[in-house]
């Protein structure tokens, strides 16, 4: 009888734990439930460049990335293709679900960081600097394999904590201008900041060819620009802060088709 009560108590306790866990798992409300891709805020001229693969300058990066995919580098004598074979098959959908939680490292990693994990751990090759041309070339090539697929990052379970951190960064006023990301990209999208039409800040087109920079840029490079524009001190590219923010941004764009490589002003 006693044992039965104890068991019943344990069962109730574990049940309430399950309920609590489920509550923590509840998907957060999206401030923009029906997001619009950055293409809605781009000019027809810019879109004409993006929508023609022969005009889109990012395809130079795609070509470089394809060559790098098959090139043996590092002490292990391997290329990306040694493990992953044909990228057009093996990498399909990868960009759509990145950043993602890495169980062994117990943190969220971006596509850039995952490439470097492969390089350092499998290939015996040095990590490539974040936002460098060779790394942007590989990520652009990989991202292209997911073009048209809906963004679908997994924020459940152990990933949730990193998502929450990213959300906190997004909503924290910072810099001398005392603004948060939402100041422009939720409260004022569709309005003009001088000549710039403010978008919703959706990340589904990254890596993106930026006409202003005349090169493909990674998302975290763009984030640095945003923080500097409000006269804030940006964290480093590849830092945990920006990585968690990138994770949160990906979730904001959940469901939008991957457009990488997009073209923007």
């Amino acid at each position: 009888m006693k044992i039965g009560m104890v068991l019943a108590g344990l069962a109730a306790a574990s049940l309430s734990a399950v309920v609590a866990f489920a509550e923590g798992e509840r998907p957060p409300n999206r401030p923009i439930p029906d997001p619009q891709s950055g293409r809605h805020f781009a000019t027809p001229d810019t879109l004409a460049i993006q929508d023609d693969d022969f005009l889109n300058p990012a395809f130079l990066w795609v070509e470089e990335g394809e060559q790098a995919w098959n090139r043996v580098e590092g002490t292990a004598g391997q290329s990306c293709a040694s493990c992953h074979n044909d990228a057009t098959e093996s990498m399909r959908g990868v960009r759509a679900r990145m950043p993602a939680y890495h169980p062994r490292l117990q943190r969220v990693v971006t596509l850039e960081q995952q490439v470097n994990i492969c390089r350092t751990e499998r290939m015996g090759a040095p990590a490539l600097p974040i936002d460098s041309r060779p790394l942007n070339a590989i990520t652009t090539y990989i991202a292209l394999q997911s073009r048209g697929m809906p963004v679908n990052v997994d924020i459940s379970g152990p990933a949730r904590r990193f998502f929450d951190e990213g959300e906190r960064f997004y909503n924290t006023r910072r810099g001398q201008l005392d603004m948060r990301c939402a100041t422009c990209h939720e409260e004022n999208y569709g309005r003009y900041l001088r000549a710039d039409l403010l978008s919703q800040g959706m990340s589904n087109g990254f890596p993106t060819y930026r006409l202003k920079e005349q090169r493909v840029i990674s998302l975290q490079f763009r984030l640095m620009g945003c923080v500097q524009d409000v006269r804030g001190q940006p964290p480093a590219m590849g830092s945990e802060e920006f990585t968690n923010l990138e994770f949160y941004l990906a979730w904001r764009a959940q469901g939008l088709p991957v457009e990488s490589p997009a073209v923007r002003r």
């Binding site: 924290t172 006023r173 910072r174 810099g175 001398q176 201008l177 005392d178 603004m179 100041t183 409260e187 004022n188 309005r191 003009y192 900041l193 001088r194 000549a195 403010l198 923080v227 500097q228 006269r231 804030g232 001190q233």
Partner: protein, 168 residues
């Protein structure tokens, strides 16, 4: 630009013939540079001010604001940069529309009210997205080159207000 280039070239060519002038110039630059820096980089010690109702009744400086300098402050990207968020009654392409148009501003607000809005609009509306142009406390993660400095100097605030009060 061209004039500056010519002066520079002259300095290089004839430097040996007028070292005293070059030394004087260097001295002048050394003396004036910190002042120029202060002008461009705000105040490190904001002057105290008194908020009464929805405004700051007394000017921040003894020298009255100058309309022309204030107009320059309003348009300069690194100073007031008002035009990035507000339409202004000036001839300029690409005016922003995050905030309300500034035309008729002086008919809607008194000078003390405008002064508080420029100095620290969050005292009126904590959710306002307008930057506080004369505040250094309560900010987070300020870029190192701006840390501990106001966006505008007290004199720039008064110059800007003199200009804004012409927008009737």
């Amino acid at each position: 630009m061209r004039i500056r280039g010519r002066e520079h070239a002259a300095g290089v060519t004839h430097a040996a013939s007028w070292p005293p002038a070059a030394a004087l110039l260097a001295l002048a630059v050394a003396l004036l540079a910190p002042l120029a820096g202060a002008w461009a980089r705000g105040d490190t010690q904001p002057v105290p001010f008194r908020v009464v109702d929805d405004g700051i009744p007394e000017p921040l400086t003894s020298q009255p604001g100058d309309v022309e300098r204030g107009r320059a402050v309003a348009l300069d990207r690194s100073l007031g940069n008002c035009i990035t968020c507000h339409e202004m009654p000036v001839r300029a392409d690409f005016q922003g529309n995050l905030g309300p148009p500034l035309e008729g501003l002086a008919s809607r607000y008194t000078l003390p009210e405008l002064r508080l809005r420029v100095v620290d609009s969050k005292r009126i509306n904590p959710e306002s997205n307008m930057p506080s142009f004369y505040r250094i406390e309560g900010l987070y993660n300020v870029r190192r080159d701006w840390a501990g400095r106001t966006m505008l100097t007290a004199q720039q605030v008064e110059d800007l207000l003199a200009y804004l009060m012409t927008l009737r």
